[in-house]
Symmetry: C2
Subunit: 335 residues, 2 copies
């Protein structure tokens, strides 16, 4: 119990994910998991004048839905830990503004949902807080024009490229109540395999995902079969294949247990999303929309959520820096 192995914490009093809420955009709603999401937006602008204002409004609304669902007021939430992909996490900063909740801003690229749930569970398990919100968000249009090309440009996308999810997910983590429990966390370190192709983030993140998963299993004395599913954030099809190969090379067979939110989100052939989905909102919306409900309905009993992030900026890519990865694992179960 407590800190175990190299980089894990096992909780003696596992915090509870008491409530969860997800919002996705129209393209995500049209994908294979469409029925599971709580709110399906018809308008990616949410009635705002810019996509950035739209993303902030999406976050604001998702938090309000979660407060309504939990019958809590903003002042009942002791902390919120959250982030997004916009420069200076503006979507989150602006989306949270009206709530007045003490706020720790995070940047973990697309690993942010893992990071936010990890720190929230530390706050609750320590006894320093009893009700904490965690979340993450991304938006296709804000990410595309910030990281890649103007939306109007319509550039051709390589087949290794992924499609940033418009969506977000937030959870309320408490010390009492009903819901899946966070048994342990494994905090990722930065792993750099010298990938420089900004159109192949899956390759950049796969080594970090494998590093965190294998470290988690060793630290906590578990094997892959202790889990019903090990779920990476947004490796996409290319990254998922690499992760399985890499784990196998390292002597751990994850082939039948490893699934990826980036692969689950879209029907890539029909929806023209190439290697799959990406973005902070990918694992955030699929965890809160799909996996959380699978746990509540006892369709699965124990999962390892491993949101994965590619650490790069437009400037770092232009300056020839490699894209390192990071992944944070959160072990969640129901009885």
């Amino acid at each position: 119990m407590g800190h175990v192995g190299k980089q894990s914490i096992v909780f003696e009093n596992p915090p509870i994910i008491a409530w969860a809420h997800s919002t996705v955009g129209p393209k995500e709603a049209a994908g294979p998991l469409g029925q599971y999401f709580d709110v399906k937006l018809e308008d990616e602008l949410l009635g705002q004048t810019t996509w950035e204002k739209g993303e902030s409004e999406m976050i604001r609304q998702n938090i309000q839905h979660l407060l309504n669902r939990s019958q809590k007021a903003p002042q009942d939430i002791q902390y919120i830990l959250a982030g997004d992909l916009e420069n200076q996490i503006s979507a989150t900063n602006i989306g949270l503004k009206s709530y007045g909740i003490p706020f720790f801003g995070l940047y973990g690229a697309c690993s942010t949902m893992g990071e936010s749930m990890s720190l929230a569970s530390i706050l609750v398990a320590s006894g320093f807080a009893n009700c904490v919100m965690a979340g993450a968000s991304s938006h296709y249009c804000t990410a595309e024009r910030q990281f890649r090309t103007p939306m109007e440009y319509g550039g051709q996308r390589p087949l290794t490229q992924q499609w940033t999810v418009t969506g977000c997910g937030h959870v309320i983590i408490t010390n009492k109540g009903n819901g899946p429990r966070i048994n342990s966390i494994t905090t990722g370190k930065i792993v750099d395999f010298d990938i420089k192709d900004v159109a192949n983030m899956g390759a950049a993140m796969a080594p970090a995902a494998v590093d965190t998963i294998l470290t988690h299993l060793t630290d906590t004395g578990q094997s892959p079969s202790d889990y019903d599913a090990i779920i990476t954030g947004d490796l996409g099809q290319c990254g998922l294949d690499i992760a399985k190969d890499l784990a196998k090379q390292l002597g751990v067979d994850l082939a039948s247990i490893l699934v990826d939110c980036g692969v689950m989100m879209f029907n890539d052939e029909e929806q023209d999303t190439h290697a799959g989905a990406s973005g902070c909102g990918c694992s955030a919306s699929i965890f809160t929309g799909y996996w959380y409900k699978q746990l509540m309905n006892r369709k699965v009993r124990k999962i390892l959520m491993v949101p994965t992030g590619a650490l790069m900026s437009v400037c770092s890519a232009q300056q020839g820096e490699s894209i390192a990865g990071i992944a944070h694992a959160v072990s969640i179960s129901v009885e």
Copy 2:
């Protein structure tokens, strides 16, 4: 003890700031506090080909100095919590890469040193970790060209504008050993006074600083005179004046006790820095370089560090969003 009042935690077993290390650029070294900083760079590029690579190298070197000083290896550090002002906190991501330390990436604008020390102290006080690093960084040249204008442009700066510090500071927080103790923390909420002038960040941050300081005093049952100094991050001269006025209007006289790292860093008249210094590296380097030593030498015995952040991006400013502020307070004392 534990969570008290609206947004504070008082630690029963106060974590210890066992080691600290600061690095600053040449302009900061030439300021009134020059003698206190541990490393004074002669070259803001640190031998690199770009300022961004220079900022990453500054972070890498400062962490190495801190490891040397503490006689620790990277694997002795269980977590690092850190951030900077570059888009996607690239300076930190790249600067940390070689160490392999489990990493929580933070974005709190210039409040990041307060955020990182707060979360690090939670990790240690909870017993989940016993040795955690926290830090923050900024760089004049990377910030100026990212947030404002190309360096070569040489635009005229308004008198309310501040000068981003080239500098960083890191600390090692432990559960045993010698050093100042973190007695309590107060986590800020986002405070928005509808300031839209990107050349007057002090005005945008002052209301958040006052909100956090007054909440801290109420939550912990203290008065300003319980502190030898209450130290904001980078309000600068304009923001400091506003903060004092605002606190007075709210019935708390902070005039004699409130000082600001943004005012302390430069000799504004001689160094042409207008309203003072700013940037994550401002409070990070002045805490680790100056205040930490004042505590160790018993020149002060109890301080409230309140790093302050202005939550904006180029995009949010261009879209007419107001600049909200946030401030995180960390109460530190020696016996």
